[in-house]
Symmetry: C2
Subunit: 434 residues, 2 copies
């Protein structure tokens, strides 16, 4: 019998705003940050987890993680029921008032839940994607909080989905291990970059084997058209160029702006408006259904700011999106993302995770690989975002090869930061900040 003996929390911030890395129309000067925790046991490895923020307020998330510590200390990681554990964090009768299941408390729950997954997978000697992929359909269904989902998806329907994917698991594990999982890159497209830098990085992305890139839009309309035009000229017609407006528009403006950009064949428009606005996404998607140069749709994508499974459920029920963009730390960690992966299969919509930030690539690759092996069974039109920032701070950083994520082999969730990074970038007293 092992026991979790203590939880240490950290406020880690990287001064990324100094170089305009990560700049977009809504977030002009982010300092990529992590509210980070370590679960220590009396026996064996630690569990690491974090939630991602963009600077100010990282301390508020750390305080929220501290509020969840009583639910973790004393648990035995070898016998913990991971479904019940996740629900204990999101359904505390007093803390639930602060959401429910959204905002700071949910970001904190994600950090703690993911830390527990890191710990449990390490103790099992498996990377998280493989730990998940080795569970039975029944065990996977038990991870999910089914409250508020049953009008769209029942546990029995989920079991059917998972059982249908069972026969091919071994083949898909082999394929994943051999070829990896497709990535796309946002590195060329930050709003603060010059035209020359956009062209140079877009060409480099193609040379590196990526078949999809992404550009930020949503500030000046003429700038958006010019940047998309030069990027399209730089990469040619075969490379998919996704656009990301970071929630800047109302419905009419989103439709007008995208029609101006349509001649340059954008693959999707991400976050055209508020992430809470199911009906607005449905209206935008409908208005753009024949706007592509070939008369097809401009796809609508969202998810990095979608608060929880209830909002994803509605986006799917309302035919509001073409692409589900899960985030490893926005919703309630692995467990709630399993629910969203199942919903996406039910509605036939591909999942293309949000990543970037600090460590989001490291985490979310596991979820897409699990999805491929045991849930959707498909990589078609599926790509995981990749941004080449800050990976050097992780002990088991992502590896990209020919535009693909290489399947992680180290046990755990690839979540652990280097101790020297935790110290150097500690806010406000670390050497990077004083």
């Amino acid at each position: 019998m092992a026991v979790i003996t203590s939880v240490d929390t950290y406020d880690v911030r990287f001064p990324t705003s100094r170089d305009l890395d990560g700049s977009d129309a809504m977030n002009p000067d982010p300092d990529y940050s992590a509210a980070y925790l370590v679960l220590s046991t009396d026996d064996g490895p630690d569990g690491h987890g974090f939630t991602f923020t963009i600077g100010r307020g990282n301390d508020v998330c750390r305080a929220a993680i501290d509020a969840l510590v009583p639910y973790v200390v004393g648990l035995d990681p070898d016998t913990v029921d991971l479904g019940a554990f996740a629900r204990s964090l999101t359904h505390d009768s007093q803390l639930r008032w602060l959401g429910p299941e959204k905002g700071v408390m949910h970001l904190a729950a994600a950090a703690v839940i993911n830390a527990m997954w890191d710990l449990v997978a390490k103790r099992a000697g498996k990377p998280v994607w493989r730990y998940l992929a080795d569970l039975s359909p029944e065990q996977i269904v038990d991870l999910v909080d089914w409250r508020y989902l049953t009008d769209a998806l029942t546990p029995d329907e989920a079991l059917e989905i998972l059982r249908a994917a069972e026969p091919g698991r071994a083949d898909r594990i082999a394929r994943l291990t051999e070829r990896g999982y497709p990535a796309y890159t946002t590195s060329p497209g930050w709003l603060g970059y010059s035209d020359d830098k956009v062209v140079r990085l877009a060409r480099q992305a193609v040379a590196d084997g990526f078949t999809q890139i992404k550009l930020k839009v949503g500030a000046d309309a003429a700038d958006d058209v010019r940047r998309l035009k030069i990027a399209r000229e730089a990469v040619g017609p075969q490379i998919r160029i996704a656009l990301d407006a970071n929630q800047r528009w109302d419905v009419a403006e989103a439709v007008d702006r995208m029609r101006e950009l349509a001649p340059y064949d954008p693959w999707w428009i991400e976050e055209p408006t508020s992430p809470d606005d199911v009906l607005a996404h449905a209206a935008i998607r409908s208005a753009l259904a024949t706007s592509a140069p070939d008369g097809g749709p401009i796809r609508v994508a969202t998810g990095e700011h979608v608060a929880n499974r209830v909002v994803f459920k509605q986006l799917l029920q309302a035919d509001a999106i073409d692409v589900v963009q899960i985030d490893a730390c926005r919703v309630g960690g692995v467990n709630e993302n399993v629910a969203i992966l199942l919903l996406a299969v039910k509605y036939g919509v591909p999942v293309c995770p949000h990543a970037g930030g600090v460590g989001l690539c490291e985490l979310v690759q596991h979820l897409s690989m699990f999805d491929f092996v045991a849930v959707s069974g498909s990589m078609r039109d599926r790509v995981v975002e990749y941004v080449d920032h800050l990976h050097e701070h992780f002990l088991d950083p992502v590896v990209i090869k020919d535009g693909h994520y290489v399947a992680p082999s180290a046990p755990g969730f690839s979540a652990a930061m280097r101790p020297e990074s935790l110290a150097t970038y500690a806010y406000p007293d670390g050497p990077a900040w004083v």
Copy 2:
């Protein structure tokens, strides 16, 4: 010229769980609490504000209020643009990541925005309802953050609504001052109360002049039927009995349970399911459209946990609710509630605010009175919740007379707690807790 010189924050908690006051199916043991702040100036009165929580996590909200202090200190309360000020809190480019506009950061923004309104109204020598009711339609429109609203309501449409209500303002102020604003009471209906206590308090409510009461439901089905039956017998057929399930059900269960309760003529079902679930509320409302004993609808109500104006907008666009339940502290304070009041008029749905807790009655009465004078111009089917808890801790507590809120006359937002209450119930070091 005056200036805000400092902000002091407090974690105040009342041990209400000891008596099961406030108990419901989702919140069995709340300790009613306030994350509280005082804006001090170099000249004249202080501004008081708070957000309401039910215990654990109140410290997280206080940390979030602390994160907003840089936006307040140094402002001149006599020249501050209250619209721009509110937007500065909710659109900070880094803090926005933690929501956007939801959860802990939005609760904190509400506290700070409401404190500023308290301060500004005190300096003008008016209660907040009257300060608002004396603004021009143009000034009221400028209070609102119009982002994400224009597919449902434009600033020009809002101006039309407000101009249409202008001619009768003086008459309605006189009527309000004379008769007050109708209240309903939830005091009889807490889930932890015995049947005898429910009957006794229900009869007392009628004797006190209330024409509507509310009961909690959502735990045991047979208990719900029994309690509603005895309450109906106690108050007779003319008193409206609202029910509140506090988010306990999925769609099918909500419909089934309400059909069982329908013979006892419930006036509305509040929070039948997740507050994020626009489509579920629409489905439930549709299923109950002819379920009342007279073949009419059982109304659907929600709002105390609705995160922001974007979700309210969709609830109205989707015909999902019959009753809009604003909360003074859940969304971004006075400003965002003005937006919601305007949306409700556009869609012809009455506003019946959520109150109770700590100080929510004190605050929200101002918003309904402003709505009557300057926005909807109507009290029809409109009632403000009233719960007789914890008013003794306020310097200017609500006054209920013949089932009506008496219009406040003291300058400000009725938000200030007694200094001795702030000290006694300070958590964890106040005498009530040690």
